[in-house]
């Protein structure tokens, strides 16, 4: 008995690993490559470029001439700014993603697992937070605080954005909680925290991953919007503050596209890359999206020519 279980353990482990890691597709490859490149740029870029705030008397030079992406109105190097802004925006994204993960897992998973009035209260709280519009709340809060640190902005963004994922997680936890194997482990006397951590949580990992990815996109977009309105963290460099200065420096009217296009494009590319990763995670959570499509099924049928051939051969 012991021998059979130990041998049957190996393939199930391999199967499980294959199920948790998404299959390598073109979408996932592009997404991972883009995310990796942008992250690398944010990590290493600031070390290689000069001072992003240094003012020169070379206002609005187009790309080339010693500056890869040209200069701003006051002669600051746009490429150097972009490197520092990438680091700033990614930091916000990661911090908000982490806080959101903790908050949404607590209110979504723990609430649904405990059940009873705790679940009712958590769910009510989540739904109320969900319907209160986030960005206006962030704008109001941040306008009361004159000197904001990056951390404060991150915390405010996280507080206003965790509710959506908490609701998704709650729904999924409820369905996992009532599955037979969880009931079986409960009957066999497993401790509650063990059921939560060992039996339920592994099933939630793909969902948690996709929610974190969403939270990162949302945080970077939210911070960019906030900074663009001039309400971001003071003295920080992000994609949003670059756009804020570009808008205020009349880059649009002056036609200085090299000033306002790169930061926006960076946000768009990073967001798209993360979405591509999310598609692949979605296909694990919902296998129907991946396996035999109607188009595939149509292809199983034979064309007229093939039918004719088949008929001739059988006749």
């Amino acid at each position: 008995m012991a021998i059979t279980t130990s041998t049957s353990q190996l393939p199930t482990d391999a199967v499980r690993r294959r199920r948790i890691l998404p299959p390598m597709t073109l979408k996932l490859g592009i997404g991972l490559a883009l995310t990796g490149l942008i992250t690398l740029f944010g990590l290493i870029g600031p070390l290689l470029v000069g001072d992003p705030s240094a003012v020169r008397d070379l206002g609005l030079t187009p790309p080339g001439n010693g500056f890869i992406l040209g200069t701003t109105q006051t002669g600051q190097d746009v490429f150097a700014q972009l490197a520092h802004a990438t680091r700033g925006s990614l930091t916000i994204g990661v911090v908000v993603g982490a806080i959101t993960l903790v908050l949404s897992a607590f209110f979504g998973v723990v609430g649904a697992f405990v059940g009873g009035w705790v679940d009712e209260a958590f769910s009510l709280f989540t739904n109320v937070m969900l319907v209160i519009p986030g960005l206006p709340l962030v704008i109001v809060i941040s306008s009361y605080v004159p000197n904001k640190s990056v951390w404060l902005v991150a915390v405010v963004l996280a507080i206003t954005s965790w509710a959506g994922s908490a609701r998704v997680l709650r729904g999924f936890t409820l369905s996992v909680r009532s599955r037979d194997y969880v009931l079986a482990s409960r009957v066999s006397g497993e401790r509650r925290w063990r059921i939560l951590l060992v039996e339920i949580l592994p099933n939630l990992i793909p969902l948690l991953a996709s929610q974190v990815v969403f939270a990162v996109i949302f945080a970077i977009l939210g911070e960019a919007g906030l900074s663009f309105l001039g309400l971001g963290a003071s003295g920080s460099f992000t994609w949003g503050t670059m756009l804020f200065y570009a808008q205020n420096g009349l880059s649009l009217r002056l036609g200085a596209w090299w000033w306002f296009v790169p930061p926006g494009l960076a946000i768009a590319l990073f967001g798209a890359a993360l979405s591509l990763i999310n598609f692949s995670i979605d296909e694990i959570i919902n296998p129907k999206l991946r396996s035999q499509t109607r188009a595939d099924r149509k292809r199983w049928g034979m064309t007229r020519e093939q039918l004719k051939h088949a008929r001739e051969e059988t006749a």
Binding site: K27, I141, V145, G225, V261, G264, L289
Partner: protein, 329 residues
């Protein structure tokens, strides 16, 4: 009936939470917004006792009145519709400023959000029905558009269609020089012309989500057994597509529409800033720029209540089109 009662109770709680949040934020934040506001108001003209009372009720007082009493006064002031006087638009009352700017925002955002939803769902239906067709291949592109920030798309469109090829106006809600607001054809034309670019921005950047969601639900629904049964019965593909698949696949999108309204409003605040659109988002930003806390709180309250109201409407509609929600509760 029970469904209706539950929904109404939930929105009552949410509404109370919003009011309380609006009450607590200025009191929990550092600094003293009341003195700042009153001194700013005093430079513009005499401050009447009613204005003073309204501002104190909204933003909190330094006096010894207990928080609970302040809360009751605040609710009373709200009940009588008194939101204080705006600094930025001195001496207009906040309620008048909101009354003037709200129709612009509701018109622009309401229309743009509904348009984006309808087009997105129709495209998603087509993409899910024929997987791998050209519509389906649009999806990565529209998702890319979705991760583009609203305001940056607005800047790009403004740069391309406003400055480089001047097809659309650069800013404003209507042509202030040649037409006056009123029920005239010229005014409506001007409003449509000025609203086209902001609306296009909102539609372009939110359509991808609807398309993807609908497409994924459509794919899931099409693999259900009852679709196979319908095919086996020999129903026309059109009937299967719209009555059997899309009818069921659209349900999550509709409940998602309610949730997304908050995000659309958020995005449009920034969009209004780019286009200098005379809506409530611009009023909020002007208030923030001028430390006009009374107007800011008022606008936040109205935006929140509007989103709550829209959510309630969608939820009630959902109860009508999905009988299961009524049966379950």
């Amino acid at each position: 009936m029970r469904y209706l009662g539950q929904k109404l109770a939930f929105y009552a709680v949410a509404c109370w939470a919003a009011l309380t949040l609006n009450f607590l934020i200025p009191r929990l934040m550092p600094g003293n917004p009341v003195d700042l506001m009153l001194s700013k108001l005093a430079t513009r003209g005499p401050v009447t006792p009613t204005t003073r009372a309204a501002i104190e009720a909204m933003l909190g007082t330094e006096s010894n009145v207990s928080l609970w009493r302040q809360y009751l006064t605040y609710l009373q002031q709200l009940g009588s519709g008194e939101l204080g006087t705006s600094i930025a638009y001195f001496p207009t009352p906040v309620s008048t400023v909101i009354g003037q700017t709200l129709p612009w925002t509701v018109g622009l955002i309401g229309l743009a959000a509904v348009m984006s939803f309808v087009i997105g769902v129709l495209l998603g239906r087509a993409a899910g029905w024929r997987r791998g067709s050209w519509v389906d291949n649009l999806i990565p592109f529209t998702t890319m558009l979705q991760s583009v920030p609203y305001f940056w798309l607005a800047l790009l469109l403004l740069f391309l269609l406003g400055s480089t090829w001047p097809v659309f106006p650069l800013s404003g809600g209507y042509d202030v020089y040649s037409v006056s607001p009123g029920f005239s054809l010229a005014f409506f034309q001007s409003v449509l012309y000025h609203g086209a670019l902001p609306a296009l921005t909102i539609v372009l950047s939110s359509i991808g989500g609807w398309m993807l969601g609908m497409r994924n639900m459509m794919v899931s629904t099409l693999s259900e057994d009852y679709i196979l049964t319908a095919e086996a019965k020999g129903l026309t593909p059109r009937r299967i597509r719209s009555r059997y698949a899309a009818r069921n696949a659209v349900l999550p999108s509709i409940s998602g529409f309610a949730i997304s309204l908050g995000f659309v409003v958020a995005g449009s605040i920034v969009t209004e800033a780019v286009f200098s659109y005379p809506g409530i988002g611009s009023a909020l930003l002007l208030a923030v720029g001028n430390n006009d806390y009374a107007l800011m709180q008022g606008v936040f309250l109205i935006i929140t209540l509007a989103v709550l109201g829209a959510n309630l409407l969608v939820d009630l509609l959902y109860g009508v089109i999905d009988p299961r929600t009524r049966a379950r509760s």
